[in-house]
């Protein structure tokens, strides 16, 4: 209703506007008409005048018509011109001015009704046609065309119609202006070139029009409006015009349009208006019929992990310990956002109203969204083991006793690092070689230094002859191997060893031109006990005795030569180089305790040679970078290798060429390894200053693997110059162990 009413009002407003417009238009038209009328009105008398004037005063009529050719539309000019003209008129003949009027009036009075009727008729005619001044026979042309002629156009008889005579000059005009009281209402008619004096009504009319009023005084512009189109339903139609014939004939255009639509609908281009589906926002019980079968066939779905729950850190008022200190804060700011433990800085507010909005809230939500649809998911099995279960169950060390546990003696006396130690087969004496160029003999039980032999060079290796019936010590220094007879045993043993050394001399002269020369000890050296010197071509690093005590092997590591190992026979003073080819840098060698095998450890592997058959029987891969030491089990079936990359590998010769077990006990390079001769023990010495004693039982049953259990870590040596323990050896009969270190001491652990 409101809308319709408003619409109506709007329409009525529009109507009003239209009406106003029409009124305006009408008034304009009326104005024009009236103007015309006025001019007609003016012209009528003028015409009459002309008729008469023609007869009586031609001159006056056709006086100078100077500016008759201006636009008729331009009122001002016209007026001016008129004025001029009128002025001219006035100045010329005063009397004439009034005459035509008077005559006209007279005529009107005289001729009476008949003439008036005619006039009226004429008026109507003029109304209907495009009204023109009858006196104007030339039409609506620019009047300047007739400027130079005395006439304007021709009458019906073909005679010239002369202009009223105009001989007024400026002065006449001025005089006219001054004297003629009607000068102001005199108007010049360009078309005829005559002056017209306006009547009172005409002046009034002009004034009214100038004021913007209607020309007709009687016209009431505010009269009440008759609503033509209104909301009231009328009985009669607005127009009584009968319907046009067209309206009864089906329209072709429409038909075309309809057929187009029909075609579009047929083709599916236009679809019927969609029913407004309100089920979109409507909720219902979606899980009314839960189907377990769907659950079963569901694909391998990994549900997204939930966001972790907040801890105390995130509180708006956390306990003080959760706030960042300055360092923590600086650290947090330095860290990459992905490395930070929390994505925010914990803050404390004294009351809830002070808590501001979290600036990264939308970010975090968005990141969660990204995680949900963009992050690859993977099922990860979390290892949920008790760490205790990972530790292997081993027999208790207590049950594996005896083994050395405590440091009981320290042998002091050397002034530089002690490279090598060796225990006499009786277990009573201990020999040690040091970088200070001395070999010392100690009594094991009392830690007393029994004898010191200055050999004049850093001692690389010492080895006590394992044969208990002789008492000899081999010492390696520089290019020499010395055989010492320390005479630290009962006389029988000493004499037997003397005999052994002396026996060589008889068979000696055969050898002479080898790489190695045997030299007898002389003079002072004999006093010290040096019996023999074996001169090698290169620096000797290690000497090893065969178990029988007759053969002696020495090692001269060299990359480029096959002269790396010599085997010497002491009783016959013979030396030989068993290898023809260089197979790598030899680190150390060892004899098999029972069988004629010889172990050569190169940088990465251990080769086993059969000395009788003179061939290689096995090659053990140590899986380490650089072997440092080797020891053979007294049974002969097992070998341990220490290496500079902290490893200790146990080889079971019957099992494989790969290590049976790798032990990474030590934190630094392993320097020495040793087996005990009777007890199932072995030990390794390392640069980290520790000696680790392990229990290693070897079973006779081939199916049973050796049992290896570390039983004790022995510490005592001080690390000097990054070197810790350099050599380790067991006591031949007791479960004791000796170790020599870079701190120039030898220690006994029992």
């Amino acid at each position: 209703m409101e809308e319709s009413s408003s619409g109506n009002t709007r329409r009525s407003e529009e109507m009003k506007k239209v009406r106003q417009k029409t009124v305006k238009k009408r008034s304009k038209e009326e104005e024009e008409e009236e103007q015309d009328e006025i001019f007609n009105f003016n012209k009528k008398p003028a015409e009459e005048e002309e008729d008469e004037d023609l007869s009586d005063s031609e001159d006056s009529v056709y006086s100078g018509l100077e500016d008759s050719g201006s636009d008729s539309d331009d009122d001002k000019e016209e007026e001016e011109g008129d004025e001029e003209g009128s002025n001219d008129d006035k100045e010329e003949e005063d009397g004439l001015k009034f005459e035509p009027k008077q005559t006209k009036q007279r005529e009107e009075e005289e001729e009476g009704g008949e003439r008036e009727e005619e006039k009226k008729e004429n008026e109507y005619e003029r109304d209907s046609s495009d009204e023109e001044d009858i006196r104007n026979t030339v039409g609506n042309i620019p009047m300047e065309w007739y400027k130079d002629f005395p006439h304007i156009g021709y009458d019906l008889d073909g005679k010239k119609i002369y202009k009223p005579i105009r001989n007024k000059d400026e002065l006449d005009d001025f005089l006219d202006k001054m004297e003629n009281p009607d000068y102001w209402r005199t108007v010049h008619d360009k078309q005829t070139g005559s002056d017209i004096v306006l009547s009172d009504e005409q002046v009034e009319l002009v004034n009214r029009l100038q004021r913007g009023q209607f020309g007709d005084i009687n016209f009431n512009e505010h009269q009440p409006q008759v609503e033509f189109f209104s909301s009231d339903l009328m009985i009669h139609p607005v127009t009584n015009r009968p319907e046009h014939k067209r309206s009864f004939i089906p329209s072709l255009v429409e038909k075309e349009k309809v057929s187009k639509l029909v075609h579009a609908i047929k083709m599916g281009w236009i679809k019927p208006r969609r029913q407004d589906d309100d089920s979109r926002g409507r909720y219902y019980d979606l899980w009314a019929s839960e189907d377990a079968s769907i659950l079963a066939k569901h694909r391998m779905h990994l549900p997204a992990p939930k966001t972790p729950l907040p801890g105390h850190h995130e509180s708006y008022n956390p306990p003080p310990e959760y706030l960042f200190t300055d360092e923590e804060r600086a650290l947090w700011e330095q860290q990459d956002p992905s490395d930070r433990k929390f994505p925010f800085v914990p803050r404390k507010f004294s009351s809830l109203r002070q808590v501001p909005a979290f600036s990264r809230f939308i970010h975090e939500r968005f990141e969660r969204c990204l995680d949900l649809y963009l992050c690859p998911r993977q099922r990860k099995m979390r290892v949920n083991v008790n760490p205790e279960d990972l530790i292997p169950k081993l027999p208790k060390p207590k049950d594996l006793q005896p083994f050395p546990t405590t440091q009981s003696l320290v042998y002091r006396g050397h002034s530089a690092l002690v490279r090598s130690i060796s225990v006499s087969p009786s277990g009573q004496w201990l020999a040690s070689g040091s970088d200070d160029g001395s070999v010392r003999f100690w009594e094991v039980c009392s830690s007393r230094c029994m004898k010191t032999v200055q050999v004049g060079g850093a001692v690389k290796s010492v080895a006590w002859n394992p044969n208990p019936s002789v008492c000899l010590l081999a010492v390696a220094l520089d290019c020499l191997v010395l055989i010492l007879s320390p005479s630290l045993a009962d006389r029988q043993v000493v004499s037997s060893s003397e005999r052994l050394l002396a026996g060589h001399q008889e068979a000696e002269p055969t050898e002479g031109q080898g790489a190695v020369t045997w030299i007898e000890g002389e003079g002072e050296e004999l006093n010290q006990g040096i019996r023999l010197k074996i001169q090698h071509p290169k620096a000797v690093h290690q000497v090893v005795w065969h178990a029988k005590g007759d053969y002696l092997a020495s090692v001269m590591p060299d990359h480029s030569s096959h002269l790396q190992v010599f085997i010497h026979q002491v009783s016959r003073r013979r030396s030989q180089n068993p290898f023809r080819k260089n197979k790598g840098l030899v680190q150390c060698v060892s004899f098999h305790p029972v069988r004629p095998y010889f172990f050569v450890a190169t940088q990465r592997s251990v080769r086993i040679y059969n000395l009788v058959k003179q061939e290689m029987t096995k090659k053990l891969q140590a899986n380490s970078k650089w072997i440092s030491s080797i020891a053979v089990h007294p049974g002969g079936d097992h070998v341990i290798c220490g290496s500079y990359d902290c490893r200790l590998s146990w080889f079971d010769l019957d099992l494989s060429t790969k290590p049976y077990k790798m032990l990474r006990h030590h934190k630094r390079a392993v320097r020495g390894v040793a087996y005990h001769r009777h007890y199932p023990l072995f030990a390794s010495a390392s640069d980290d200053g520790s000696v680790i004693v392990c229990h290693g039982t070897v079973y006779n049953d081939l199916l049973q693997n050796p049992l290896i259990v570390p039983v004790k870590v022995l510490r005592g040596h001080v690390i000097t110059h990054d070197l810790g323990v350099l050599d380790v050896t067991f006591h031949p009969s007791q479960p004791w162990i000796f170790s020599s270190g870079a701190d120039a001491t030898i220690r006994l652990f029992t």
Binding site: W287, L309, P320, E321, P346, L352, A357, S359, C369, V709
Partner: protein, 587 residues
């Protein structure tokens, strides 16, 4: 060897996965459409076990979808709708270009839409599945409902989110399901229990957001589209499980109460109804008008032995829960205008309290500030001019702390202008060995029924506790760092020995002096412990490489935990000491 040579990557895991671009081509969808489809259908990339195999030998970083998933998308009707929409947009553009306004109108009327009901059903075959995944939906809806109604997303979406969240809150109130509340610096976390599922959501604080530019709102809007549908269905089901009307109607009683008030303030009836609902002050209409609270008692089953114990503990828990549900029963709260109204009203109503606020704050206030029966007034300003004598003026944190502690805490700590005790997260459950803040210990003591003694004693106690704690921690440390300790001892011995040795070696003139020896008391337990520790260390030496690595990792994690706990304890101690010294100087 006979037969054809087997080609690589034609079987096995390489054929089970498909890269994103290939998937897109297979579905012939544009990237935004593909993204939207993945979001709606819940398809996500999988990380293959052997990436290089799947990637056909290359190691380039690619995301892989399961081929089965993509095949499953092929038959999705919604893909057709996407295409329809594309066509629609094209037609519309064309019509605009041709300035055929009637065609534009017609096209607009026929704008293609789609429904997500079937997708929800497919993604969540059972209701419990849907409930489990509702966390994110709630967070998102709560966020969107706080957006301004301009820009960023459709107004309808925002209104829908608001409606759904209000419905959810009303459900939680009706079911008394709220369990924990936590005021964090990000917003307020709520945890509620519905159908036995714990649901956690985060509500941002009521501030206008300054929208970041590096966030793709289309992604968020797609998620919200899905979440609103999900939340609507979940709400429906939850309301029906409680015999409540859906869409929610206010109780007739409360409705009449509310009607008296300024109705003319709100122009639209529908709008004001949502406002009234969101006031959270009135209870909801039920389908079957039932007695207020049905006490569901646990049935007694005949049980034996261990089951009995379990039953007992369960009963106990049940009792605690019941007590918690009636935490604020009989208390009348009045919220000052600066307190966060919605959150507080929600929490208080969830635990059976009555709540009201100033009429000018929000529609739905039920009583005035001058009401004599008000027991607590929640104020968040330093002081208040006119105070009624028969009520407590407390800070808002009291309400939240009470809920988390499951008991009514003493109000003294929460009076106006008092420094509040720290607000702790209820989500942290400390295991043994973790650091427990002393405030938590205090609350635990209160829960056990121990009355806090006078303040000073309390403090002393605290100190004691702390000391005990410290000792405990030390012991723990001992346990964990035994090895190190032993090492240390050994080292000490060594140093002693070394000293002696040095003395001996340097000056041969040893100070020969006999000092009265001390009886070395052999602590047997100590020795045993040492022995065991050594055994362990030796055994660790013999571990295999792989196991050793794992063991080291686990131990490292454990040690780090201990370290962190110790750090927190130390920080706390330093803080307390500083406080104490400050106090002393002031005295």
């Amino acid at each position: 060897m006979g037969g054809l040579q087997k080609k690589k990557y034609e079987r096995g895991s390489a054929t089970n996965y498909i890269t994103r671009n290939k998937a897109r081509k297979k579905l012939s969808l544009s990237l935004p459409d593909f993204r939207r489809l993945c979001i709606l259908k819940g398809i996500y990339p999988h990380e293959p076990k052997h990436k290089k195999k799947v990637n056909k030998g290359s190691t380039a970083a690619r995301t892989f979808y399961l081929l089965k998933d993509i095949r499953f998308l092929l038959h999705e009707p919604i893909v057709g709708k996407f295409r329809d929409y594309k066509v629609f947009v094209r037609k519309l553009k064309r019509a605009y270009g041709k300035t055929e306004w009637s065609a534009v109108e017609r096209l607009k009327e026929n704008k293609p839409t789609y429904k997500l009901d079937h997708i929800i059903k497919e993604r969540y075959p059972s209701f419990i599945d849907a409930l489990r995944d509702i966390d994110d939906a709630l967070c998102m809806c709560f966020l969107f409902s706080t957006f301004a109604r301009t820009g960023k997303c459709h107004v309808q979406t925002i209104q829908l989110c608001r409606r759904l969240t209000v419905e959810w809150m009303n459900f939680v109130i009706a079911s008394r399901g709220l369990r924990k509340v936590f005021i964090s610096i990000k917003g307020i976390y709520y945890q509620a229990e519905a159908m036995g599922q714990l649901i956690t959501w985060l509500v941002p604080y009521q501030f206008s957001h300054d929208h970041p530019t590096d966030v793709d709102y289309r992604v968020m809007a797609t998620f919200t589209e899905m979440y609103t549908t999900l939340l609507g269905f979940v709400n429906f089901r939850l309301y029906h499980s409680l015999n409540l009307l859906y869409p929610p109607k206010l109780d007739s009683k409360s409705e009449t109460e509310l009607k008296e008030e300024d109705e003319e303030d709100y122009a639209m009836n529908s709008e004001s109804y949502l406002e009234k609902l969101s006031a959270l002050s009135a209870s909801l209409a039920r389908v079957v008008s039932s007695a207020e609270e049905e006490e569901a008692e646990l049935d007694q089953f005949p049980t034996e032995g261990e089951d009995m114990e379990k039953m007992e503990t369960r009963e106990k828990e049940e009792k605690v829960l019941e007590a918690q549900k009636k935490l604020f029963h009989g208390l009348k709260f009045f919220l000052n205008r600066e307190a966060p109204r919605e959150s507080l009203a929600f929490v208080i109503r969830c635990f059976g309290g009555e709540v009201s606020w100033d009429k000018s704050v929000c529609i739905g206030s039920t009583y005035d500030m001058t009401d004599e029966t008000i027991t607590h007034q929640i104020v968040d300003r330093p002081s208040i001019d006119k105070q009624h004598i028969n009520r407590y003026y407390i800070q808002p944190q009291w309400v939240y702390d009470c809920v988390n502690a499951k008991i009514l805490l003493p109000v003294e700590d929460y009076f106006l202008g008092v420094t509040l005790p720290p607000h702790l997260s209820p989500f942290v459950e400390e295991k043994d060995g973790d650091y427990v803040p002393p405030e938590k210990l205090k609350i635990m003591a209160l829960q056990r029924g121990e009355k806090p003694a006078q303040e000073q004693e309390d403090e002393e106690e605290e100190e004691d506790e702390e000391e005990e704690e410290g000792e405990d921690e030390e012991e723990e440390e001992d346990d964990d760092n035994e090895e190190e300790d032993d090492d240390d001892e050994e080292k000490a011995e060594e140093t002693n020995l070394k000293k002696m040795e040095k003395q001996r070696s340097q000056g041969k003139s040893l100070q020969v002096k006999v000092t009265p020896g001390k009886m070395k008391v052999e602590d047997k337990t100590r020795l045993d412990q040492e022995e065991q520790a050594e055994e362990k260390r030796l055994a660790i030496m013999m571990m295999k490489k792989k196991e050793k690595y794992l063991y080291d990792k686990i131990m490292f994690g454990k040690k780090r935990k201990v370290r962190e706990a110790n750090k927190l304890a130390a920080k706390r101690k330093a803080h307390d000491d500083a406080e104490k010294s400050k106090k002393k100087t002031r005295k």
